[in-house]
Symmetry: C2
């Protein structure tokens, strides 16, 4: 008996140590609110950063979390917290979503976004929009004001405009740094390099998952996709079940990474399915998908997720992921593996 | 002990009886090949059919199965069987895919298709193409010749053309009966009717799942979507995990029905997840999703599916589903609940 007690204590200690890494944050009792965000996973290393750039990222992540937390603290809805938080990330040129989205091979910006509400397990998404200032607002309009889940291209733009989303010229999204990234990728491509693993070529998606005081979980994701993308390629971000998923009975998830893998392995839904069918905890489900299924097959990226008790996971199999969370009296922002 | 033996025998008898309904077909040992198809689920009732029309549907389903079975019997690949079988259904005006696709609100035809290979759990899909004669061939090209999973609109068409898919004028897809269906739905809409449940407004997707002699499972789906669709709406058919899924370790699935529900509940992947995580049989997983998850939430439709042993499910929660299968020395074609 003594030995087994010792083992239990040892395991508990090990678990609590792993929680302190900032990747998984446990809640023993249901918290009154929780919010977690990402600004993309990828080759994010301290040695590539300037102190100014790092400061700018941390400040913007905190600004976004401030906004979402204020809504949730005030008794607001998870869906409002997710949309307003993502709008801040979309409006910042630091992230590959909205302003600052990467360029397609044609030199334009094509944006995808989705949102899902765990209360009714319904959602909305847009893919390939070029003129909607905040694609997450168009995704919300699809959810709230149409019978559909996914609208694409010109049709999605016409719908967003009809529903009052702010429309901008495609040049609004342009930034000098993303244009340079396109030029670098196209130069590599013309030399015959395999560009798939080029650090400029993907990642930078933004996402948010929030739990409100009513116990509702909402998840949202927004992206500019892949630098130099061709043929109106669509990744996982606008696909419910791949880039975004929410169900109040299990969890909410927002993905970032090599989208093709996230579609093939239905990553966001798979985390919920492991909780529902195998009885996995959020932490186990996220670890198994990110470090198991995806890593074994070469699918790089990460997710942020939370469950109905407010347990939080921010897990990635890349060098880093822009990320952060807030709960009552708790906050965290990190960029690299070691925060 | 005697009593438990009796119970086992009774349960076995009940199970074997349920297999004779033509919805679930069990294989005790792995068969050398199997193929199952659907031509859409919906309000398919004997009283709405003429004997000629019924004969035409049964003949076309058998023609498609003949083609796929010949490939598999000859030792061919599951992917070839799926593509060639679906091409026959796409080329027939009887089904809402390829020639005979339903019309969008603009009076055009926009087609979606996807294919997934259970050997490498990779696949390809196109959404919103207007000029590719056989969208399933474009989906295959995305799988085999690109690093992407989902291409859309003009980009998908440009890619398909580059890869040698046959290109036709959009008017090729037009049929008189689908134009009449558009007119009926638009007339109802102008009267303010809720058109969502109009029998003309959805369904008719085609799909195929095949198991070849090497144990590889491939699934494919092709559709014209929803009559009177607007805003470049995309349903579940081009979404891996929703409309189509294949994994040699579990099963292959092709969906048909009210696509928005199939996306939200990741229907095709969910069947595989229940087998992998809960230990459900194919039959249990399909029943739980079609008659549980979907029906409880108002999501109408069905799936055809098979597992690595060649067990087959053709299950739907609608009035009927055009469907059929072949295995060595077994064949079946059905339209209504009672075949």
């Amino acid at each position: 008996m003594r030995q087994s007690t010792f083992i239990v204590i040892a395991i508990s200690l090990l678990l609590s140590m792993s929680c302190n890494s900032g990747k998984h944050v446990k809640s023993d009792e249901r918290v009154s609110y929780a919010i977690v965000i990402h600004g993309g996973a990828g080759t994010i290393k301290k040695e590539h950063m300037t102190p100014e750039k790092e400061k700018a990222y941390r400040a913007k992540l905190n600004e976004a979390l401030d906004r979402g937390e204020a809504i949730l603290k005030g008794g607001g809805l998870a869906i409002d917290a997710v949309v307003e938080t993502i709008k801040i990330l979309e409006n910042s040129p630091l992230f590959n979503a909205g302003k600052g989205a990467v360029f397609t091979a044609d030199g334009t910006n094509e944006l995808d976004a989705s949102i899902m509400n765990g209360e009714d397990t319904n959602g909305g998404a847009v893919a390939g929009v070029k003129t909607v200032k905040n694609p997450i607002t168009a995704a919300r309009a699809v959810y709230e004001k149409s019978n559909h889940v996914l609208l694409t291209g010109n049709g999605a733009e016409a719908f967003a405009q009809k529903e009052g989303c702010e429309i901008v010229d495609n040049t609004y999204f342009n930034t000098e740094s993303r244009l340079r990234a396109l030029e670098r990728v196209q130069a590599k491509e013309s030399q015959g390099s395999v560009i798939l693993n080029h650090p400029d070529s993907k990642f930078g998606t933004v996402g948010c998952v929030a739990l409100d005081r009513n116990g509702n979980i909402v998840a949202g994701t927004s992206t500019g996709g892949m630098t130099n993308k061709k043929f109106n390629r669509v990744g996982d971000s606008p696909i419910l079940g791949a880039g975004t998923y929410a169900d109040n009975t299990t969890c909410g998830v927002s993905s970032t990474g090599h989208g093709e893998f996230f579609i093939r392995y239905a990553v966001a839904y798979d985390i919920a399915a492991r909780m529902a069918y195998k009885g996995s905890t959020l932490e186990e489900a996220v670890d198994d998908v990110i470090h198991g299924t995806l890593k074994e097959r070469g699918g790089s990226g990460g997710v942020v997720a939370l469950d109905r008790k407010g347990n939080i996971s921010m897990e990635f199999n890349t060098e880093g992921m822009y990320r952060g969370y807030r709960k009552p009296n708790e906050q965290f922002v990190g960029l690299y593996k070691n925060e």
